[in-house]
């Protein structure tokens, strides 16, 4: 037989795991007496906590009711508070007869998010691009009204989850492009631009956010006489965009610095202009490298939205607090714990979703690159 005719060994299936579930448990939990001890202690702790939580949140919980009287016992959660105030939590002070407009926006948002999670080829991509462009516009038209025969609803009436989501999305979607521009400016070779961007970033990063918010909302009209004409909500948005874009800028700068110098040189050697090099070669890689840190910042932004409470807005947490002080529900402290547990769960659902999405993005870009 000629050497080149020696048949290749056929690929074989990987050997089966023969140990079974018991074996798996032994390997992972009871591989030594010390590990067994840890397993037992942990398992017991988890059991006790879970048992307590289930008793509290489900078995002894009160689900419906119209006032604090519905929840006389402190050994169970008082979800009645949440169900009773539910519309307020979700829509804020938005007029009841116009809830449908908010619902449309919620549904559109959900569809957009889902389109980013599942892909059915080319059409999904077109759909995503369309939604990214038109969703903010549609949301603006439906929520504020005042056009297409829709009744005007002042942003002061937004509240609860609606306000939290609106502030968070504007802050996040606004701070990403602004952050990229600032990062490019800071790393620019033009000293003036680089200095201006550096000081801008350092300033907003260095000042406590509470100070910024109060400054924009309360002090701006004093310094800029015409500033009072700008809506208070808009001013709050500008403040959020300002300091969040400073954080984003630093995230992207980290991403830019992670790109090897050879990428710049190769683009330049081909004859690309600065903007083409940045747009097609450097930024796509830099943004991918920044995804984990970017998501971290986004989650921070989401949670930080609660500081609008300080300037009299009622976001989700704010509405919960106000409701706790309403005459129907004021009283027993165990309603407090239920209310804040509910708030924590709400925030967690959104931030956990963001973090899951980011790890998916990371995995995908790892596959593409290597």
């Amino acid at each position: 037989m000629e050497p080149s005719n020696i048949p290749f060994k056929q690929p074989q299936p990987a050997p089966h795991q023969t140990t079974g579930i018991l074996g798996w448990i032994k390997i992972n939990f009871f591989s030594s007496w010390f590990n067994s001890l840890i397993t037992i202690v942990l398992a017991y702790t988890i059991f006790v906590l879970a048992d307590f939580f289930i008793q509290w949140a489900f078995i002894n919980a009160v689900w419906f009711g119209e006032s604090a009287k519905a929840c006389p016992n402190s050994n169970g959660a008082c979800w009645a508070f949440v169900t009773d105030r539910w519309p307020l939590f979700v829509y804020g002070l938005y007029p009841k007869e116009l809830y449908w407009r908010v619902n449309i926006v919620y549904v559109l948002a959900a569809i957009t998010i889902i389109s980013f999670l599942y892909s059915y080829g080319r059409w999904t991509r077109y759909f995503r691009i369309t939604m990214v462009i038109f969703f903010p516009l549609l949301a603006y038209i439906f929520l504020l009204g005042d056009s297409f025969d829709l009744e005007y609803v002042a942003p002061e009436n937004f509240g609860g989850l609606l306000l939290t989501l609106v502030i968070a999305s504007i802050s996040i979607l606004g701070s990403i492009p602004l952050g990229i521009i600032l990062a490019l400016g800071r790393t620019s070779e033009l000293t003036v631009i680089s200095k201006v961007c550096t000081y801008f970033i350092e300033f907003w990063r260095g000042v406590p956010h509470i100070v910024v918010i109060v400054m924009f909302v309360a002090l701006l009209p004093i310094f800029i006489p015409d500033g009072s004409k700008i809506d208070v909500v808009v001013r709050a948005f500008i403040a959020f965009a300002a300091f969040n874009s400073a954080y984003m800028a630093e995230v992207f700068r980290g991403g830019l610095q992670s790109i090897p110098i050879g990428q710049f040189e190769a683009s330049r050697a081909i004859g690309m202009s600065y903007w083409k090099m940045m747009g097609y070669i450097i930024l796509p890689q830099a943004i991918r490298n920044s995804i984990p840190a970017m998501m971290n910042t986004c989650i921070g932004i989401f949670k930080e939205t609660t500081i609008v409470m300080l300037i009299g807005f009622s976001d989700l947490l704010g509405i919960i607090q106000i409701s706790l002080e309403s005459s129907d529900w004021v009283g027993p402290p165990h309603i407090f714990s239920s209310a804040y547990t509910f708030a924590a769960i709400c925030y967690f659902i959104f931030t956990y979703g963001m973090s899951k999405y980011s790890s998916r993005l990371e995995n995908r870009s790892n596959i593409e690159q290597y």
Binding site: G262, A266, A269, I270, M272
Partner: protein, 247 residues
């Protein structure tokens, strides 16, 4: 009518801060000439060829490439870069794009070739570097030798008049050096003007018209490859050659 040189350096000087990297470099390259540059590490070889497409700017003297003087004028730089291809030691392929897109993007963005035509050109050059079957892979999925050949094809797609090679085989495993050198030898035979920084003596002997030996920012010696390698004139060249031979 005798054509003027395609590259001409006249008393070129360059400093990195206080460090004088290039000292009074005079160099004329005629069209179709193949020049090999060698010399010890830190002698300024990379800096010299990077001045040709202005990845580095010189500070004194003049550099004229294809009739265009290199100065701070952005237009000049762009038109020079579109005529000068460069291949690097570390490949520098764009890792987020497939091989095909690596070859298409420059043509499309810089030379404004329509995407379809750019793809055809990409296929032609991938065939020439014998790597067409990898067209849809990402650079990270290729071996070093394959990546370097893609990098050469990427430069060639831009239809350059001059090709610069900076130690393109020194990051490669020995068995991959040949596949890259073969591509370069083919290119030389087609009459491409080439400046090659390399210590591959076999390659230099086979294709170079001239070998230039650099040390401490100067061109110390310049000769036909056989003369240079067999009968180096300067002591520094002798020392250098004895060192690379004994590696």
């Amino acid at each position: 009518m005798a054509e003027g040189p395609i590259i001409s350096f006249d008393k070129v000087n360059k400093w990195f801060g206080d460090f004088h990297v290039l000292r009074d470099i005079d160099l004329n390259v005629t069209k179709g000439e193949r020049i090999v540059i060698c010399g010890p590490s830190g002698s300024g070889k990379s800096t010299l060829i990077r001045c040709i497409n202005r990845l580095e700017a010189h500070q004194r003297g003049s550099i004229i490439v294809d009739g265009i003087e290199l100065n701070d004028d952005l237009k000049n730089i762009d038109s020079i870069r579109s005529e000068v291809g460069m291949v690097f030691q570390s490949f520098n392929l764009f890792p987020h794009m497939t091989v095909k897109d690596n070859l298409v993007i420059g043509q499309h963005l810089v030379r404004r070739v329509p995407k379809r035509d750019a793809e055809d050109i990409a296929i032609t050059y991938l065939k020439r570097v014998k790597i067409l079957d990898q067209i849809d892979k990402y650079p990270g999925q290729l071996s070093g030798g394959q990546q370097q050949r893609v990098a050469i094809a990427r430069s060639l797609c831009m239809k350059p008049k001059i090709m610069l090679f900076d130690e393109v085989t020194s990051a490669l495993d020995p068995e991959m050096v040949k596949e890259v050198l073969d591509v370069m030898i083919d290119l030389a035979k087609e009459g491409m003007t080439m400046l090659v920084v390399t210590h591959e003596m076999g390659f230099a002997r086979e294709v170079a018209d001239r070998v230039m030996f650099m040390d401490e920012g100067q061109i110390i010696e310049e000769n036909k490859p056989d003369n240079f390698f067999d009968r180096p004139q300067s002591d520094r060249a002798k020392l250098f050659l004895s060192q690379i031979l004994h590696q």
